[in-house]
């Protein structure tokens, strides 16, 4: 689990990325000047509510958001190639081989009329010259690796003969097939029930040695706590806070992060009558007003919030960035008053 962030060159760097969709209702600014780096071997979690731009960010890395109605700004550098500017041919060679992806809903992400093994073999053969028999052998090994019992029999099953958890395992097997350097997991556990979620997370942690780097998209902080090294918190298409797992969980700086942490059910605290939630709805990404996007929902809003705070380091720990005008001292007081959000026992 220990990766020295300073020592390694970034594997992937997203530089000032913006993604806009032209729709009938106006231009949706789905991703707004987002920058981050992914280092070799680390698990980077991107968290936020639905519609905060986390999935769009990850699908843009894969080039899956390209369409005549999409506009991009900024760069995504991977191995010397800018994935935003790369042509379809270049991008296609990277997809599935260097960068693989698993999706939210395993029930619909596998093709319903092809055998599971065939679909994994297709992935292998898309990037490597192997015979069908070899690809099938590899598919069986992969299914075994992701914990499918009787893989030599299951390889010939159709997706509808698999349970939801098994399908997600099959998706993971497919993603691992060409030993990608980056795995993007877009809410891999959201569509599964809780015990299966735990199994999938356990599987992903168990596979960390083989996975290279992982970008984990989720709104489940429990999952994040389980396997992430670093965390990006996104809101309304922007990064509002980023830092290591410990920094985000024990010293969160942005009131939105407090809200996320506050709505987490915890076994080490007294049970509240009702789980707290963040009031209000995420803003529309069309014609978003200037200023801090979280201000309308923020209990700590003050006059300076009419201007958008830059994302910068405000606390002593390096690389812990946030986008809030409050000083760390003010925040500490508010966090204590709000009910001990993100404080280690004994910190007060």
């Amino acid at each position: 689990m220990t990766v020295n962030p300073a020592a390694s060159e970034p594997l992937l760097s997203v530089e000032d990325l913006s993604v806009r969709f032209r729709t009938e209702d106006g231009v949706v600014r789905a991703v707004d000047h987002v920058s981050f780096e992914l280092r070799p071997g680390e698990v980077l979690a991107i968290v936020g509510e639905s519609g905060c731009g986390k999935s769009v960010t990850s699908q843009t890395i894969m080039g899956l958001t390209r369409s005549p109605n999409t506009e991009f700004d900024g760069r995504i550098m991977f191995g010397g190639v800018d994935l935003v500017a790369a042509d379809d041919q270049q991008l296609r060679k990277l997809r599935g081989s260097d960068i693989a992806m698993i999706f939210q809903d395993p029930m619909t992400s596998l093709h319903p009329v092809y055998r599971v093994g065939w679909q994994i073999a297709e992935q292998i053969r898309a990037h490597e010259k192997v015979t069908k028999a070899q690809a099938r052998e590899r598919a069986i090994e992969l299914l075994d690796r992701v914990g499918i019992p009787q893989p030599e029999r299951r390889v010939d099953n159709y997706p509808h003969e698999f349970s939801g958890g098994m399908r997600q395992r099959a998706m993971i097997a497919m993603a691992l097939a060409n030993k990608p350097r980056i795995l993007i997991a877009d809410e891999p556990t959201t569509a599964l029930d809780v015990t299966i979620q735990a199994q999938i997370i356990e599987l992903l942690s168990g596979l960390r040695g083989e996975l290279g780097s992982v970008v984990l998209i989720t709104h489940d902080l429990g999952v994040v706590a389980e396997i992430a090294d670093r965390v990006l918190v996104m809101y309304a298409g922007m990064i509002v806070e980023s830092g290591t797992l410990a920094e985000i969980f024990y010293d969160p700086q942005h009131p939105y992060t407090w809200g996320l942490l506050g709505s987490l059910a915890r076994v080490d605290r007294d049970r509240p009558g009702r789980l707290p939630s963040i009031k209000g709805m995420p803003p529309s990404l069309i014609n978003r007003p200037p200023g801090c996007p979280f201000a309308p929902r923020c209990p700590h809003e003050f006059d300076q919030c009419a201007q958008l705070p830059p994302i910068e380091q405000r606390v002593a720990t390096p690389a812990h960035l946030d986008r809030c005008w409050l000083t760390p001292e003010q925040k500490l007081v508010k966090r204590v008053v709000e009910g001990q959000i993100g404080l280690r026992a004994g910190a007060t």
Binding site: D88, R92, R95, S109, H111, P112, V113, E122, A126
Partner: protein, 305 residues
Amino acid sequence: MVFVLWAISVITFVIFYLIPGGDPALRIAGRNSNETVRAQIREDYGFNDSKPVQYFRLMKKTIKGELVSYSDRTNVRERLIQGIPRTASLVVGAAIIWLFFGILFGVISAVNAGRLPDRVLTMLGIVGISLPIFWIGELMLYFLTYKVSWFPPGDYTELSKDPVQWAYHLLLPWTALSILFIGFYSRLLRSNVLDTINEDYVRTARAKGLSPRRVLVRHVLRNALIPIVTLFGLDFGAAFGGGAILTEKVFNLNGVGQYVADSVGSLDLPPILGTTLYGAFFIILFSALVDITYAFIDPRIRLNA
């Protein structure tokens, strides 16, 4: 299947006696006949017997293949056997054309959705759906046959005698019959493809780094074509069963469809019954084939062994 055919035969029989002017004696004897001749005919043909008795007599003849027309005394089975190769030639040829162009245009439309090729094909498709066969068929005959004599005026040459003449004679009827279906099929396929393209599993296919062509053919079309199979089975069965009435009539192919039209026109019960059962048989047969094909193309429908 036998039950369905039986039910259809009863309904045909009942409808025939419910419609006005159905009295077969009048048909057989002719309009200027007197009442004694008609009474004699009723007696000879057994039209005075109760309806169920008449029905059973007819059905017995149907099964034995001895059904004979009231108006021209020809054997229904023989007329059908005569008509089948003509109808089959028309329908099989047209089906190949309409499937080919229907799928081709549907895919081109979907891939270029919203752009010029899509708009042009959409417009042509709607024009094709809207053109009545009797009109476009007559236009073809008028301009391409009578005006410039590029094509023969309808009729039919047997495939075994002269395949070139066979195809030459059928080219216009094939075209006329296909136009409507090409319009329908390409519209349906276009919308199916556009629906399927947004499916999660197509996104997975793209994320795998497959070529756009492979994504389209193996992942999108594979599913988008399933409803086309259903439609094709039913359309083909209906046309094969004598449903291509207008085309056969306009091009004077003398196939089953034309026989249907003629016997309905002369309110001739035995051929009506015979052709209805023949048509129903093919429609049922092709529906069954569609169901069987489904099991092959969609594993979710396959019964667990």
